[in-house]
């Protein structure tokens, strides 16, 4: 076959293509618009558009009987959320769970990541990364229900604790915190691991040369350099915990969190405007969190 020698004839299409590319080369702005218009359209219409629609809906109300949305602007939804103490309780409980999950994940992630980045052999390091990433492949629901089984009356946790005369936490807030801490752990570990890998060994050696003990080195050298990575990880664990309503339903017993209020008002309450108003809470919390996080320059680590 003589494919190798075949040269494609340069027809009029080629000339037109060159003209277009020359034109684009001269007009930088046009090039940028052509490149970015689709993704920007996606961002503006799909992300911000739906967000805007939701925020507007928060000021509407529903027909109490049929559940149909009534386009009548009112602040009632917000008034209820602010004045009824139950919503404050739920909001504080949700913040508490999200904070606890974040702290637990950080406390576990730092030593594990330190071992992986600084002490483990290359082989062990790879194995550990695989071991930590593999659970991400399993479905969220499977993992949540696995915890339901483990936390149950005849579950693994009670079975282990029984010989010591102890009981597991059962279903409830503690169970929710444990389950969420497990679910979001990789999201904390990975940024911390990446942060530690970037930390030059020479800094640790220099600190040791100056006579610093392990704890002093950790506190004065490792932690300050690691802080942005920890903040980046906490963004994931905190926001994911704040938005979770499924684990609460699976292992939460009788408790409910902020996301349950939103979910229940959509599925059972049939009150979309109230759900939209309730969604302001996690949005405001996360905006505040992100603004603080930005100051630490942690977002460059995400």
């Amino acid at each position: 076959m003589s494919v190798a020698t075949a040269v494609r004839p340069r027809g009029p299409g080629f000339a037109r293509g060159r003209a277009v590319s020359a034109f684009l080369h001269r007009h930088v702005w046009l090039r940028l618009v052509a490149l970015l218009s689709l993704p920007m359209l996606w961002l503006v219409v799909a992300y911000l558009g739906s967000l805007g629609a939701m925020l507007v809906a928060a000021f509407w109300t529903t027909d109490p009987f049929t559940g149909a949305v009534v386009h009548h602007t009112t602040l009632d939804n917000f008034r209820q959320l602010v004045t009824q103490s139950v919503y404050r309780t739920i909001a504080l409980r949700s913040l508490g769970v999200a904070a606890a999950v974040t702290v637990i994940d950080a406390l576990i992630a730092v030593p594990v990541a330190f071992y992986m980045a600084k002490l483990a052999s290359t082989r062990a390091q790879r194995l550990l990364v695989v071991a930590i990433l593999t659970p991400l492949w399993a479905s969220y629901l499977v993992k949540a229900y696995a915890w339901r089984v483990m936390l149950g009356r005849d579950g693994l946790i009670n079975w282990v604790l029984q010989p010591f005369g102890l009981h597991g936490p059962g279903y409830g807030l503690v169970a929710v915190t444990m389950t969420l801490a497990y679910l979001w752990f990789p999201f904390m570990l990975l940024p911390v691991f990446a942060g530690l890998e970037r930390l030059p060994d020479s800094l640790l050696e220099a600190s040791a040369d100056q006579g610093a003990k392990a704890w002093r080195t950790f506190r004065s050298v490792v932690l300050p350099l690691l802080f942005p990575a920890l903040v980046a990880g906490s963004l994931f664990t905190f926001s994911l915990s704040l938005g979770d309503y499924i684990s609460v339903n699976v292992v939460g017993g009788t408790t409910q969190l902020a996301a349950n209020v939103i979910y229940d008002n959509i599925t059972t309450g049939g009150n979309l405007p109230f759900a939209a108003a309730a969604a302001f809470f996690p949005i405001l919390v996360m905006v505040a969190y992100l603004l603080v996080a930005r100051r630490t320059r942690a977002l460059e680590n995400v």
Partner: protein, 400 residues
């Protein structure tokens, strides 16, 4: 630096949008309906049933559309598909409220609505009136189920009665040695089964507390557990808040309650006969059920057709199929309810229809069927009652 900042801002906006979309769900708004006194929207009724459209999308209670995947011998979906060419896609709704929401999406052809969903669907314009002359098996439906307040408006049927039954009290016979006879067993703050008691996770469960108060605290003057003024609602809420301390977990997903009873995490609480049947057939624990001395809240289900059904012919065929004597008998026995079809009792096991009082109008009238509470009191006291949105808010308060 400037460049970095703007990327940071951009990602802030992006993440916020992500969180918001994840938390908020879609904000589709339904057709605006005035909040004034309800009038029934004019929805055209079918005048004939043609060939099936090849597909049928249902919202139904667990156990109402069995295709053999739970039990190989329990299958009335495949024979229907074979007979009509309508392939059934069913979506289980856990609560009436969820069913109303699902029907509002407009993706479904029909729903098995209980009385607390049916009227909301009718007045919301989500379902169409049903031409009963196009459903041949309707003729032999129990007469006391026809033209009732929960399935018709002004003498016009909005669906086909499917079956009915009471919410029951279920207990693990190994753990709860003395069979309970009163709903008081689940409202006792000093119960020995503290932490292993369950309750139905939906605002309509407030009616169960109201029914208990109606029988035990006559000073409140409750006449109908679905018609509560503010004082009566407060009393029911107080009772349920006290109950919360003995609840292990709430349920509205039938499979969740079944698994919790089978693992021993729950031993006592309200249930459907269906859940008890599955627990019994799995043979992990032994349970028993009873209608307590106070009587019970109950449901009476109606198959309704969506006002914008994409497969109306298949839905009419389904409504006729599900109340045909043999199939209605199968559903009733699988779920554990009274069949609506009077001829179904010829196909049920011996004694089944007697056990469920299938033809017993007096028994049927003694139950308190799920009904949507409205400001206009159902017991005729005027406009002083609490409406369903107040019940919904109250339910959040109860769970704390």
């Amino acid at each position: 630096m400037r460049h970095r900042r703007s990327t940071a801002t951009l990602s802030v906006v992006g993440v916020v949008a992500l969180v918001a979309t994840a938390c908020g769900g879609s904000s589709t708004s339904t057709s605006s309906n005035s909040g004034a006194a309800p009038s029934v929207p004019k929805i055209p009724m079918a005048s004939s049933v043609g060939a099936g459209e090849g597909s049928l999308n249902l919202v139904n209670w667990a156990g109402y559309a069995e295709d053999g995947s739970n039990d190989k011998t329990v299958d009335w979906v495949h024979p229907f598909e074979k007979a009509t060419g309508c392939i059934v896609h069913d979506k289980v709704g856990n609560t009436s409220d969820e069913m109303v929401q699902l029907m509002k999406t407009g993706q479904y052809d029909g729903v098995s609505a209980s009385g607390d969903a049916s009227l909301r669907l009718i007045y919301g314009g989500d379902v169409a009136p049903v031409n009963t002359s196009l459903v041949p098996n309707y003729a032999t439906v129990q007469p006391f189920l026809k033209n009732r307040s929960w399935n018709s408006v002004n003498g016009q049927m909005y669906g086909i009665p499917h079956g009915w039954g009471a919410n029951l009290l279920m207990w693990n016979t190994k753990v709860v040695k003395t069979p309970p006879t009163s709903w008081g067993a689940v409202f006792d703050p000093n119960s020995p089964y503290k932490g292993k008691i369950t309750a139905y996770d939906a605002p309509i469960y407030i009616a169960d507390a109201a029914l208990y108060l109606m029988k035990h605290d006559t000073s409140l003057g409750i006449k109908n557990p679905y018609a509560l003024d503010q004082k009566q609602l407060n009393a029911a809420v107080a009772l349920l808040k006290k109950q919360r301390s003995v609840i292990g977990e709430y349920w509205n997903d039938a499979t969740k309650q079944i698994s919790a009873f089978e693992s021993g995490d729950l031993v006592l609480g309200t249930t459907w006969q269906y859940n008890a049947n599955v627990v019994t057939s799995d043979k992990k624990v032994a349970v028993n059920t009873v209608i307590p001395s106070e009587s019970s809240t109950a449901w009476s289900d109606t198959w309704m057709i969506a006002s914008h059904a994409k497969h109306p012919n298949c839905m009419y065929k389904w409504m006729d199929w599900i109340i045909s004597p043999k199939v209605n008998a199968d559903v009733a026995q699988w779920f554990g309810e009274a069949p609506s079809q009077s001829l179904a009792c010829q196909h049920t096991a011996k004694g089944f229809c007697e056990q469920y009082h299938a033809a017993d109008q007096a028994f049927s009238d003694s139950l308190y069927y799920w009904t949507t509470p409205t400001r206009h009191c159902l017991d005729g006291r005027g406009n002083i009652c609490t409406d369903f949105s107040q019940w919904t808010q109250a339910w959040t308060q109860i769970k704390g």
